[in-house]
Each structure stands twice: as C-alpha cells, then as structure tokens.
Symmetry: D3
Subunit: 248 residues, 6 copies
C-alpha cells in the first residue's frame, strides 16, 4: 500500500517533519512518500491562501496520479479536500478531519491547540465544514504570529503545553489536537505533559489512510462524490487539465 | 459607486446575461461592469471546480483592484468568497449568499431551484457554509445534466417552473431562488408562474453591494477577516502575488 | 419608491433620529417617511412590551396602507414582524433582521452591542427567531438601565465603544451591530473607534427595503406567508379591523 | 389552588370545551375557571392574529390579576406567552408548550396533528420558539380550512385519525398531540384509534399548572424573566396600563 | 394512583430523603412509595456506573411490576430511562427530564447546579440525550468530590447557593435545578437565597407522574417505544427475565 | 498489538462472523481475538436490551482486563461504550462509531442500512449520541423482524441491496453502512452492487483500534473520561467489582 502525503505549501522542511512522523507510525508493508507544492505559499494561514493552496493540491494530486493508493492532504484546515474527494478514484484524507474524527473515539469533545492566533478563524471554519462543532470544545492559540519552525517547536513549546492544559480545564475538553503542520511529530513529546490524550494529525491521517484502503471501498458511481464528467478547460496545469478532460 | 461582477467561469455569454440583469436593477449613479475568467472552466459545477475557480476569482479581483467599490462573486456556490472577503479592502458579495439572505426577508424558508442535479450536493454545502440550513427548505433540480444556455433558459423552462411549484407545496417553502448563473434575469418571467416570491441571485447581489457601500463600513483591523500580513509566494499570477506581498 | 419607517414606540425624538439616518442613506428617488406609534409604550424593552408594540405596529401599517412600497419595522427585536409579513402586500423589513443579515455579508459572526442590560434576553430571542444563532457571537450591553437619549448617545458613548472592542476581542466577532433605536445614526461615528465593520440597523433596513422593491417580487399566493383569508373581529382599531375583513 | 384558563379568542363555545376538559382532569382541591377574550378574533389562525391575540391575553391576565394562582394560555401557538411570563408573578403555561413538554416524557419525538393546513406554518414557529425541533417529528394537518366546531370535531374526525396514524408510521413519531383549541377533550376518544400515546393540550396544561404551583417556586428577582420596572404608557387597556405602571 | 420512586443506588438514606420530598408534594389520593437498589453502587457518579445502575433499575421495575401506576427513576442522569420506557406499560419518568422540562415552563434557559465536579460530564450527556441543550445555560458544580450527605446538604450549602447565584448572573440563566439525589428537598430552602425559580427534581418528577397518569394515555402499539417482542435470555435476574420473556 | 472483539450478545455464531471479518482486515502483527457474552440476550435489538447488554460488556472487559491493547465493542448501537471508555485504561471502540466516523472520510453523509425495522429507533439514538446527525442521511431497514442468520445474510440479501440503492438515490447519501453484527463481512459482497462506498462496521472498528494504539495516546488524567475513583459495590460480578474497587 502506498500513501502519499501532499503538502500544499512550498516549505520542504515541513514536508520532512510530516514524512518522518507519518513513516514512524505506518504499519508494516505501507510505503509512505511525501511531495511539496512546486508553487504557492510557504505556509497557508488563512482562507484566501487555503483557496489558492487547495487548487494547487489538486494539481499535485493529478500530477502524481497512479503512484499512490491513498493520499493525505497535509495542511490543517483541509484546503481542497472535498474537491479532491470528488475528483480522484482513491481515498483522500485531510489531516484535520483525520485528527478530529480519531479524537472522537477517545472522549466526548476535543480541543484544537495551535501556535498562532491568526489561524483560529480558519480552523473554526474547518470544524464547521466537517459538521463537528458539537464535538469541539474550542480552538485556542498562542497569542503570536507565525514565526520560524524553531520558534514553533522549541521556543514556545512550554507555553503551548501550558495553554493546552489551561484550556482543557476551562472547557472540559477530553482530547487535545496539536494543530498545524509545523507541530508534526510533537504529540508524543506532549504525552506526559498534557492531561488528556493528544493527537498528532499527520499520524492520525496516515492510519486513516490505511483503514480506508483496508476497507476496500470503491469510488461512488452516483451522487455528489462521484467523479465529475470530463470537461475541457483552459489555462490550468497540464496534468490537471488532462485529468479533468479524461474519459473515465 | 462602481460594482464589479466577477464571473469565475470562462463563458462570456453567461457574463453578459448577468451584466444585463445586474444593470437593469442598479440604482441611479451605480455603474455596473463585469469581467469573465481569463482561464479555468467554462462553467463550475462541483466542489473541485469551485476550488479552482475560486482561486482564479482571487486573481481576477487582484487584477481589477482599484477599479471597483464592491465586487459580486458571480457563481452560485460562492467559490472563493470567504478568502476574497479576507483579502480585499472593499465588500465582496457572493450571489448565493445575497440570494439566500435576501430571501430570508420575504418568508421563513427558501427553496433553491436549479437546472441540473449534479449541482445539488455542492449547493447544499454552500447553504451549510453560510449556516443557513434552518432557513432552507431544500435544494431541488431537474433530473438533467448541464446543457446549452438555450436548454436551460427556454427548452426546460416549463419543467423548472413545475418543479418549483411542486417542491414549494411539498416542503412548505416561502420563497424560491432560481440558482445558477445561466438563469440570470429569469426571475421576473417566473413572477406570475411561481406561487411565492422569486429571487434572482445576481439582482440580489447588486442590490446588496449597493447596501454595503451605502453603510460605509470599513475593513476590519483585527479578527479573522482583517487583511492578512504581506507574504511572498511563488508561481502565482503576477498581480495576485504582488497584492499578497504588498505592504498595506 | 416610498419607504415608511414605523416606530412602534411613542417617542417622537427617536423617530426623528431614525428618519434622519434613514434618509441620509437612501438612494436617489427613494422617499423615506416615518410615523410614531399613537399609543403604547415610550420605548419597548422586553417581551411583554414587544407583544403590545407589535400589535400596535400592525394597526399603524393598516392605517398607512397604500402610502408606502415597503415598510421598515423600526424597533430592535422586530416586534410584530412575521405577522406584518403575512398580512401586508408589500415588503416589511425589521431593523434587527436587516442588521443581522447585512452583517453576514461582512464576516462570519456578528456581535450585538446595546446600551442597557435589560434588553439582552429579548434581543437573544430575536436572534433565535431569525435562526441566526450560528452567526451571532453574542449580545452584550452596558450594565445600565434605560436612561435619556442624551445618556445613551453621549454620556455613555465611550463606555459603549470600549465594551464593543473588548467583546470583539474576547469572542472573535467579525462585525458589530449597534442595536437599539436610540443609537440610530451613530455607526458612522464608531467607524474609526471600533476595530471591525459597524452596522447601523436603520440604514441597513432602508437599503434592504430598496433591494426588496428592486427585486420586484410579488406576495406569496400560497404557503404560510400568503395573506390570511378575510375575517371579522371585534374591538380592534377601525383600520386594522377593516383590513383584516377586507376581500382581497 | 386556582387555575385560570385564558382563551385569547372571542368564541365562548371553545372556552366551554376547554373548561370541561380542564376541570375533568384537575386534582381534588384545584379550582379551574376560564375566561374568554372580550375583543379580538373569533379564532387565532396565523402569526398576525397571534400578535394581536397575545396582546389581548396580557390585558385579560392583568384584568383578572389576583384571582388565580396559575394561568393557562389557551391557544395552540402560545400567543403572548413569554411576555406574560415576564410580566406576572404567578406561573403562566401555554397549552402548546405543556403538550410538547409532556409528550417528551412519553417517547422520543412527538407529532403535532391539526385540522386546518393554514395553521402549520405558525405551529412550526411555535415548536422553534420553544427550541423543541429535535423532539418534533412534524406538524401535519387535514387539507382543509377552518370550519365549524361540528366540522372539526365530528365530520372530519375519522380523517384526522387516519392522518395521524399515517404520519406516525411515515415519520416514526412516538407520541401524538391533537393541536388546536377546538379539539379540546378529544384525546380520550382517540385512545383506541391512534397507535401511540395521544396528548390533549388543555389537560396537559392544567396538570402542569398544578405541578408548578406545587413546586412553590418564586418569581425571578433578576435576569430576563424578572418583572419589568414600572413604566407609564398611553392608550392601553386601563387595567394593563395600571399593572405596567404599578410599583411592585 | 400509586407512584413508585426507584432509587437505582443502594443508599437507603437517600431513598428516604427523596420519599419525604416526593410525598410532601403529592396531590390528595396519590400514594408514593420508594424502593432502594438491592445491589449495585452506593451512588452513581459517572457513565459506567449509570450503565450498571440503569440495568439494575430495569430489574427493580420488573420486580415491582403491578404495584405502581407510574414510576420515577430517581437518579439525576436518568440511567436506564429510555429502556424502561420501552419495556414497561406504565409511564416511567426520570428526575432529570422532569426537572428540565418543568424548568422550561419557568423561563428560557435553566442552569444545572450540583455538588461534585465529577458529575458534570455525565450530566451534560444527559442534557444532550434529552435534546435540551438549547434550553440549558450550563452545568456547574462545586469543585469537590462526593462527600457525606451531611457535607452535601449542610456544610457546603452556602457555597452551593453562592455558586448558583454567580453562574446565573454570568450565564443569564432563568431557572436553577438543584441536581443530584442527595439534594432532594432542599429547593424550598433555596427559595429566598437564589435569585431565580429553583426546581427540586424529585418533586418535579412526582408531579409529572401525576400529570401522565391523569392524561390517561396508553402504551404505544407501534414505533420505537412499543413493548419489545418476548425474548428468552440467560443469566439475568429472575423477574426481569420472566418479564422479557412474557407473552403480552 | 492485541485487539479484543467483545460481543455483548450470547450468540457465538455472530461472534465467529465478526472475528473472521476482523481478522481478515488486521495488519501484520495484530492479533485479533473475540469473546461472547456469558449471559444476557441472544441479540440486542432495543434500548432496554442495550442497557442490560452494555452492563454485561463492562463485566466482560473487566474479566479480560490485561489481555488486550484495545477493545472493540461489537454491537451496533454501541451499548455501554462511554462507560467503558471512562473505566478502562486502553482504547475501547464501538462498531457504530467506527463505521460512522470512517464513513465521514468518504463523503458528506452516510446512510445506515439494516435488516429489521425494530432497530431503527435505537440506531437513530446512537447517531445522536455521537452527535453525527448532520452527517447522517437516515437509518433505513427492511420491513421485517429479526430472523435467522440465514435469513439476514442470504434470503434477504437482494432486498437489502435494493433498499440501500433506493435510499441512497432518494436521500443523496454518499456512503452506506451495513449495520448490525449479523451483517459482518458482507460489505465486500456489496461492493459491485451498491452505488456508493460501503462500510463494514467490524472492519472499520478493527482498523480504528489499530489507529488508536499506533497514536500511542495515554488515558486522561483529568476531565470526564479519566478513570473514576475506587468505589465499593455489592452484588456485581466479581471481576467488575474488583476492578471498580481497585486502587489505581
């Protein structure tokens, strides 16, 4: 089984972090690869960038088509997810949805914890998009902008843990999600520090990709997630245009 | 006041229909113009195409920036709307939201009527995105694919009216929305045929653009809809990249 | 086009404020008039008074019938709105619904800010009546009773602005509504002081009245908002009784 | 204990039906009386008439003040209920809410069955006003207008039972409510005919009045249901005006 | 009329408190009895214990079958309630649902106040189970474990009243429910101390039992709350097994 | 990794079916075992039996404690799930929740299809318990009772497939769940027959058990899902009583 992690951002260092975390948790026989957006933003932090990054993710998925059995859309916020799910024949899983749905099996309500307050609005939209607001105890963030990976992962780590524990107590959350690709791989470090189960979205997504492939489901042949009819376009990336126009 | 209708599809004939309908309803002193997507799909009919078309809409808005006081995002489903609202300084109104919010002032629950069943899933997502499900009596469509403008506007017109009246009776809807850009301008023709008030989304959107400009509100300087911080990108359209990178 | 502002309170000074604000924002060719309740309460501040004032609003609308193309029901809380919408042939818009629906086009969630805490319960009911709770970030008020117009508009102005900004930050609101007829016309003064777009309900309502008339919709001929069948009554105001009994 | 049934309609024959049904179910020592609206509509059938009738109900409650320990607002739809609850010192129970809340103790979801389709829209609003939509399996009605009491209670009885049973099966309802004052007292006749428990709203309301008095609760001294501050008015009924102006 | 209070806990002292409170509020001619669980937990404080205690409640109801006309399931959280409602021919009322539904007739939103924080999660699940979250202003508890009856009723009484008043003010609650069997009978003591109406769940439940019996409804003969078909089992209590296997 | 399938019913043939399906989908190195309830009902089909069976499941989990790294609660409806999640240190997954949450990653809304109409009410409660109603397109069943395994799996198979396809078309469902333990293993047979992805709950649950163990989360040390404090009981199964009383 081949799982492809699709980073719709252009920052390869983040792709590496996610690939390491994903590989470490894969079952025997599961090959995990990762690709980085060839164009776009260094990191997606709002709805406008998610609109752009999600379209680029579709290009990446079309380009790599045939080389994976399931894809992980690897930006918290799940840009382009539902479009990808319509378009492609294999399962596509968003790291937000994987984290949230997995969290639902560990308690009643999950808390989303992230490192920069500018992300909160967009992440809340993501919770609503998945209709999981009744299971969400809130989205909380450090009162900071988006700094270096070093800042996010090391300098502010203690503050993040403290924020998580305070919000869990105040909101009666049962599970915590460390949200945002730059936090990939840190959940295990949080285990003895945060008082409820902690989810690493990229790990959750790789395991969900395994689950969906194991279920052996087939693409819908009718309804709103069947593959759209072939259609000509203009000015799109060559591979995406070819895929959209392809007889199926 | 200058209102710009942005058609994120590449079909100019549809732009013309919308421009005519929009101009006919504009108040004295309001100048209405329209632009057509320079690349993309001839018509957006699903979530994947909305992801692409919405990103193109951002390019168009950046390109035309400074030439309008309010913009109308003119594809039912509102592709790219929230991103555009974050990014630009002037009001951006989606034709779906304008139709639905206006309909709310004419009764309890609105019905969305469209001409091709493939659109229903995406349109329902749009209702949910605006959190208006409690005001929506349903999305119904002719059991057909997406044909020519002639098909949509003339050949199937009687069937559409019949569908609307049947669904209104069955679902106790109070208002009907004729959804889909190709239906622009037909609401007035439906007036004596459909038993509840009928909304033309493009007309609703032009009037809402007027309302927002008249209110004289200013762009948020904090919160999740303030303009994002300047950011470098790669491989995006020149004007959009420049706008994203612009010091504000 | 003739828009009638109906103040269901007996305080003419408030009518004047609203008429001024409404006229200032009307499009060319739109005539705005206002009437004050001939009986009832000086200002409606709770559910009981809204029950009474809403019934008086129906009398006023019946009395003025034929002199307006759209009516604005001008008390925040929208007393009598749905009844008026059933009964009369022309659009009737509530200032609460106009403010809230317009706010929805400027961001995700709106905050309602008012000047006396006794109003909060009734205003929250109004949000629920319009099924807009998912778009509402809360109703907040100064911890005060209902004082003079001078108090509301001048003395407590700075406290109100401060309250708004604090609540916007705490609740991540995207838009603010200055709620309550005595605040009519003050939104423009708030523009540089409050960090998100600010809505003046009376202005929103006049613009929405314009929009609805421009849409040229007709009264429902079936369903729950069609005009009720003629019915005899006793002891009601002469004009309202005549209107209720009228063959249509 | 004295329970007052307040019929906000002017039809005394309906008051009699309700008084009979209410008295038959009262506990020993509970005195049940009923009053009929001295002005207004013969029967309330829509939102506009509910606005008027609810204001008249407040007048009736003020007029009778001191002669009852709990009041039953006896029109399905609960016109004026929340206003009455704010204003008066003793419990006021609506027959809709009493029926619905009682039904909740007999199963998961209740069906509202009534005799004239024009009532459905208003009754649905009433379900929403009480936030009980998740417990409601629907509002269904005979496809008829509002005829004589004889029509409602005798001629159409079999059709009503048939409608109820069909809707229960189709919607998986667990309890049925016979809604509308003219159906008072018929639930017992339905017992062997309808396949789930059947609620008579007036009986439910009288028993709930007993329950609230037995609980011995006191009026709120703060919050949105405390008694409003004294206020002068003009042109209202003498007793209501006096009550509103009364020092407490 | 015979009302049976079923305490699914093994603590007889709590049964006594509830029996006293229930009897004191019963109407003339209503005989109230109470039984204590013969096995199980001294007090149910979480979901696991509610699963166990609810199954024991079914045994108790089967054992006592024929000796009561309505049963009150007397642990806040309503363990086993919906199962009991399916299984038995007479009304079964939970003290949580009775308290919450009764509270709905005294204001918009109720607050649940209890004495030990460990109860909050389970009680919130109970609110959701009854679909009353829109009517609930929250569940608050003293920051304590579950002590002696003396602790709960006397030592911590003032702290509980203080907590209630603070939460009412902060959350704009209209009614308060003193939740948890050990608080039985204390609502009357709270009357002059808490600023909104206060509900005693056991009293509410006894009055609701009276109401349901007075309504004279019959058991559903179809749908999801009709009595299940007879079924053999193994290893269950003798009387419950016999009841499950009984031809009806 | 050791996964324990816990069948809270007494029918070993159903346990075998589930064990086969579970084993077939397990990853290399995952050992799957299954146990059958030593007492209780042959099959749980309603809320009352779920109350009983859920308590028995807790006994089984306590009895087997130490022999598994994750447990699958293997009756659709998830009897006792939240209690088990509180009580035990390792992940416990319900087959309903696993099926529904997994389905969410394959489309917008799932359909639950089962073989006996008596199950629908209880299964709907289960959807609500997990707060997934916005993702559920409905619960549908053959209009039949609970027959033999042969009936369920062979005789009625074509009718079940036909029902599923009809309901998918009518309700616009994106994914189908074959619900009920007796259907274990049939999803693969449905693949070419049903027009959307089909989920086998037991397979989904085994894969989710793998995912949760791989995530390496730890038990909550605070909040509503931490392990309850030790407590003495009487008359419970020896092992469960010992576990409840155990110092941790």
């Amino acid at each position: 089984m081949r799982v492809l992690i699709v980073n719709p951002n252009t920052t390869e260092a983040v792709t590496s972090l996610m690939l390491d975390a994903g590989r470490a948790s894969a079952s025997p026989g599961v090959e995990v690869r990762a690709i980085t957006a060839p164009r776009g933003l260094p990191y997606i932090t709002n709805r406008a960038e998610a609109q752009i990054g999600g379209a680029i993710a579709l290009e990446m998925l079309a380009e790599a088509q045939g080389t994976y059995d399931a894809a992980v859309l690897a930006a918290f916020g799940d840009p382009g997810l539902f479009g990808a799910r319509e378009l492609f024949e294999v399962p596509v899983i968003g790291i937000s949805e994987a984290a949230m749905l997995t969290a639902c099996m560990l308690g009643g309500r999950f808390l989303i914890v992230t490192f920069a307050s500018m992300l909160c609005g967009w992440f809340r939209d993501c919770v609503a998009m998945h209709r999981l607001e009744d299971r969400c105890a809130g989205v909380v963030a450090l009162d900071q902008g988006f700094g270096s990976l070093e800042d996010v992962r090391e300098t502010n780590w203690e503050a993040l843990v403290e924020l998580a524990n305070a919000a869990i107590a105040e909101r009666d959350a049962d599970v915590a999600i460390l949200a945002g690709a730059p936090l990939a791989g840190l959940a295990s470090r949080a285990r003895d520090l945060i008082c409820v189960p902690v989810i690493d979205p990229i790990v959750a997504a790789v395991k969900q990709a395994e689950a969906l492939v194991a279920l052996g489901t087939t693409k819908a042949s009718r309804g709103s997630f069947k593959r759209p009819a072939p259609k000509a376009s203009s000015g799109l990336s060559v591979k995406l245009a070819a895929y959209l126009e392809d007889a199926q």
